[in-house]
């Protein structure tokens, strides 16, 4: 037989006498901080059913469109007969539009590489992960930076006559300024704009430029990459 225990085991329940640190949670800084899970549903049948409906909806739309919208087929490929303009697939026409303004190394290599890199590193840029509004904090200092970046972009784009990039840039830039000057506006749209963080504005600017460039390259560019109206 062993000796009788000379110590006692137990947990103190007096938190004032024996404080124990479990974890600090400072605001909602991480998605890992479990929030209320909320009601849950079994994947079978709830997810399966919804996915099936989505698939059927998609299949119907695709089939109807495919019945009436014929795929184009031009003459046999002829390396000696260059069409004017020769256009890339539509999703690269934004790039082709950029090539019209900037040197090929910048528009064809540097910018696409930067865009892909920027997309990859988005989740690893921890700044502003709480989604603090752009003008929420130290707004006058931020305004100086904002106007500085805007001015540099404006001069650079104007220098290269890249006005299909300039127009959406100015538009988004001005919209970004509105909530700064009208912070107490009651309009729902302005309230929405005012609550958006910096990453939201950068992405919105990127999408606005990409959409404009793609639309212009697809519909408004003719022989020699000159401006044409799609209806003329």
């Amino acid at each position: 037989m062993s000796e009788k225990n000379t110590f006692e085991v137990g947990l103190s329940s007096d938190a004032v006498k024996h404080p124990r640190r479990i974890v600090f949670i400072t605001r909602k800084t991480s998605a890992k901080v479990k929030e209320e899970v909320g009601p849950q549903l079994m994947s079978f049948p709830h997810v399966i059913l919804r996915e099936t409906i989505a698939f059927q909806f998609l299949a119907i739309v695709l089939v109807v469109l495919a019945l009436f919208w014929d795929a184009p087929l031009e003459q046999l490929a002829n390396p000696l007969l260059t069409p004017n303009p020769a256009k890339a697939p539509w999703y690269f026409l934004g790039l082709q539009e950029l090539l019209h303004y900037f040197p090929p190394l910048v528009a064809g290599v540097l910018l696409p590489t930067l865009v892909v890199l920027a997309l990859v590193v988005i989740p690893y840029f921890d700044i502003n992960i709480e989604g603090e509004p752009l003008w929420g904090h130290r707004s006058s200092r931020r305004m100086k930076i904002y106007l500085g970046v805007f001015a540099v972009l404006f001069v650079l784009l104007a220098l290269y006559d890249a006005w299909t990039v300039l127009v959406p840039t100015v538009l988004v830039g001005v919209f970004g300024l509105v909530p700064y000057f009208l912070p107490t506006s009651e309009s729902r749209f302005l309230k929405f704009l005012g609550s958006q963080p910096l990453p939201w504005w950068v992405m919105t600017w990127f999408i606005a430029v990409a959409l404009t460039l793609t639309a212009v390259g697809t519909f408004f560019r003719g022989p020699g990459w000159s401006w044409v109206w799609p209806w003329s």
Partner: protein
Amino acid sequence: MATTDWTHQRLEQLRQTRVWRSIFRRGPARTNRTRSLAVFGNFALHTLPVKVREKSLSVRATYYLGSISFFLFVVLTITGVLLMFYYHPAVPDAYRDMKDLIYVVSNGVFLRNLHRLAAHAMVVAVFWHMFHVFYRGGYKPPHEFNWVIGVGLLMVTLFLSYTGYLLPWDQLAFWAITVGTNIISYVPVLGRPIRFLLLGGHIIGQNALLRFYVLHCVILPLAAVGLIGMHFWRIQKDGGITVRDDHE
């Protein structure tokens, strides 16, 4: 009503057969236990979580854009395999096969239309999916790496669509690929070697068509399947999609 009962009974009988029970070991999915088994005991469904948050199923949470991208990939695989039956990756047979699809093959036009539409739709759906996930903050921890896989899938989607663009071997295809591959040659130092590797030569000809065909039908779809599998699996392992409070 009587027929419904009859069908129901036959279905029940079928479920009791030895063959059926050898395939689906669980019983009918009437309890939460058997419903769980229906998901993780099924090869096709096992990448799904067993339970999902009700909020994450609302249409506005996702617009089902990820699912739609995947469905489009499935449609493209099926129509693509069917198109392969009628296609020779050779100059100028490829173009003649396009003519055959239009004038000879039953429903050939429809098949080609469907493949082309689904391809364009997939590019749109994948981009839209990415932007939607960004605006909803779906890239935030612990979903960082799944976002990176998603960017990879976007690249694969674009490259799939681009390699498919050359295959009809008409003027549209030829010059679109010419414009695109000329851009590659501007890459410093590596540009010309990469272009040579992609085209199998200095010009877009027979070799380029064959390389684009193999990339389009074998290499890139395999890469896509691998990445899609990882992408789906990671959603489950990272604790389901991001749901926001402000969403009702």
